[in-house]
Symmetry: C2
Subunit: 464 residues, 2 copies
């Protein structure tokens, strides 16, 4: 949305049903491939930026260029504000450099910063120098992505503490702030150091002569510009704050983070966790081009092949045992699979707890104890179940013992490693979701096969 | 937080570092188990509701009762506003029924509704009749959880369209609304039907004599009370709205949903998807009691045992083949495992796309085509890789063919089923995350073993 969403807070172009949106997209694709340029222009110009950004990656190459060509600067700005990183990169490449500065002047500051960072340094400098909002955007460029400074907006409204309520309201009326967020007004001193905060609502209901100092709240939680965006998100979410000020080491208010910014952070972080647990790295959606998807998905599968060949090597060491009791092969995937899935359950709960900030590092011992006990319970239940079936199927007590004990031991491994792996990664300040499941299933495979085939070797005479 | 967060928008009790919070919790646990009741009371009374709610499930049974006993009604209200479902149930059971009505009067309406729904019907009615806010809470009771009506707040601020800006501001000053959200003011007619919306900021900067009708935006997107909460969340997030009005079929404004409500919905839905993909059902955290965790995790593992025994049955049919060429057992977990993980990658991307509303049902064909092509690419890459290693290891071309072709076919299965399973569940209006990975890994296990052992049987003379 534009930098000033308030004047049209709920635009009429909002499409509320999936069917309607599918129809809109169908029509747009048709028009963008057809000859009726005026009809196509009218349709895409009337689209909400969010819908345009949703349509864009679905279009063929030629239709994408056509769509960009039809949009006025303002609509192009709305489009890029809603695009994901990958299609955004593409749009920026397609855009004539001459008009880029003008379009970035019309976008949110944080999006302008993202685009400038995508450009080669020389082009970035040239574009920035052509922008009217250069003085607002430049200070934001030095903050890293995924930090509080990287997602904050400098568009806050500042008051002075000596003002009266009447003066503050007049000031707002004259200034007509285009700030993204005027829910809270920040009170600064002469050196831009933050003194307190006052809600616009508080201002409206206070009597005219009251001094701002008297109605403001001087205790304001804030974060540093370098604070991780996930940490800032947790703080806003935990304490249900509407906005969180970003304040430099020397107390200067640099910007604010609002609940909108946080919604995107929360969604991104959840996607990242899910992707990493499935061995997916980098941004990818169902609409990513084939070669991008192939490049993103294959590396982790190669790691996976390596761990599976390690398990294969272990099996090879027991080839003689399998030759004598081929039915052991039946139980290999069962012992390894149930163990792996039990471990994935544990990992998922621990990783989610860490991501949501529900689990602190000092909870490690409590979690380990619980998962160890749960490993015993699950071990006994599934040892008896799977061992019992093995006994009934193969008709010898030794089968029940070998399969049942291997299953039980693997369940213990699953519970312990399912909690140890993410907690260890966290302790070393790594992402606990990262490759957790690779390490885990490699362990439950290798150890599961080892327990089963090792016990099978010991009792081989009873199995055959 | 209380129903009126604006007067203390950023309370000083906010704890911004994990270490500080860990220390706070350690001290609280110590005091709650000790004898210095006054020190314990002081500490827990000063805690933010969010921190109290985070501490509570970590405490032992006795300390929980002690903590509840020390909190005044207002602090108890803050606590239950921040609790998850499972510990909330426990608190409600521990609370004397006599004080429950008074505490619910102090909580957010939607939390009061959740608590009333937890009680047996007769107690619910008795409690409600003792509440001063009964008239506000009662209409909310008829909306199902997880709908727009279930998460909305009735605390919006309404203006009449004939008012002037001056009158509206005076009205706000006199009424001193304790509404959760006065960012937007809703304009109603005499029958409470919504006519439009005006931002508080717009009001503040408009000249005094302007009529509300002239400054309001008459086009307001809204949802019905029965709309799924996930759909409402997607709408707010997609169009970056601050608030979304909930309007009945006959146009009456029943409440609003704000971006705060949505943050919780988004987090819950992401957790649910992650849990379901890992075969976890119901609410569970690392702090859930052991027996709850055992009950929640074991059922899906039993389903998993069943699918793995189906795979085991298939292997049993090839027992003779394995006896002749035991090295086939080495490649079983590799072919099945790489296929399963490739399928999980696909499923994760499709499920996430569906959850975020990026994927519409009519995208099915495009997704299937892409994943089929990707299946061929991954099939060729991993067929050659794994087949090549098999050939080099076992020293016969037949091993390369059997393992490589089985790997390639299983990759195709993974790509196709990885997209077909969640899209089919969605088409039948089921949760696409639900048990997706069970069906998938069962398929890649069974078919992977079938390809490998089937081809192995055909070429058995070349393998030995």
């Amino acid at each position: 949305m534009s930098r000033d969403p308030d004047f049209s807070p709920v635009p009429d172009r909002v499409v509320t049903s999936d069917e309607e949106r599918a129809e809109l997209f169908r029509r747009a694709e048709e028009l963008l491939h057809g000859d009726d340029i005026e009809a196509a222009r009218e349709l895409v110009m009337e689209m909400h930026g969010a819908d345009a950004a949703d349509l864009f990656p679905r279009l063929e190459e030629s239709a994408r260029s056509a769509m960009l060509g039809l949009l006025a600067a303002e609509q192009q700005a709305h489009l890029i504000e809603h695009l994901d990183e990958e299609p955004l990169r593409e749009v920026v490449e397609l855009m004539p450099r001459a008009s880029l500065a003008r379009i970035l002047d019309l976008t949110d500051y944080d999006v302008a910063v993202d685009v400038l960072k995508m450009l080669p340094p020389s082009e970035s400098v040239r574009t920035l120098s052509g922008m009217q909002t250069a003085s607002e955007v430049t200070p934001l460029l030095r903050h890293a992505d995924e930090t509080a400074g990287g997602i904050m907006t400098p568009g806050y409204v500042a008051l002075h503490k000596e003002m009266t309520v009447q003066e503050a309201l007049s000031f707002l009326r004259v200034r007509r702030p285009v700030a993204e967020e005027v829910y809270y007004l920040y009170v600064l001193d002469a050196k831009n150091r933050m003194q307190g905060v006052v809600a616009l609502r508080q201002l409206v209901i206070s009597s005219a002569g009251t001094r701002i100092e008297e109605v403001m709240n001087p205790d304001v939680a804030s974060v540093l510009p370098g604070t991780d965006q996930e940490e800032a998100a947790q703080l806003l979410q935990r304490y249900r704050l509407r906005a969180l000020p970003v304040v430099s080491e020397d107390g200067v208010l640099e910007g604010i983070i609002t609940s909108d910014d946080i919604i995107d952070v929360i969604t991104e972080e959840a996607t990242e966790d899910m992707y990493r647990m499935a061995g997916l790295y980098g941004e990818e959606t169902v609409f990513s081009p084939l070669q991008v998807s192939a490049r993103r998905r294959i590396p982790w599968l190669i790691v996976n092949v390596a761990t599976l060949f390690a398990a294969g090597g272990l099996i090879a060491a027991f080839e003689g045992t399998i030759q004598r009791a081929a039915a052991l092969a039946i139980f290999m995937p069962i012992v390894a699979g149930v163990g792996g899935n039990a471990g994935i359950q544990t990992i998922t709960i621990v990783v989610r707890g860490l991501t949501l900030g529900e689990v602190e590092p000092h909870d490690a011992q409590r979690i380990l104890t619980k998962e160890f006990l749960l490993g015993i319970i699950r071990g006994v239940v599934f040892g008896l179940l799977v061992g019992g079936i093995a006994y009934a199927w193969q008709g010898a007590w030794a089968w029940g013992v070998v399969v049942g004990v291997a299953m039980m031991l693997n369940m213990l491994v699953a519970g312990v490693l399912g909690s140890v792996i993410p907690l260890t990664l966290k302790a070393f300040r790594q992402d606990p979701a990262m490759a957790s499941s690779v390490f885990l299933t490699a362990s439950t495979d290798i150890l599961g096969f080892f327990f089963l085939l090792g016990l099978g070797s010991l009792l081989i005479d009873q199995l055959t």
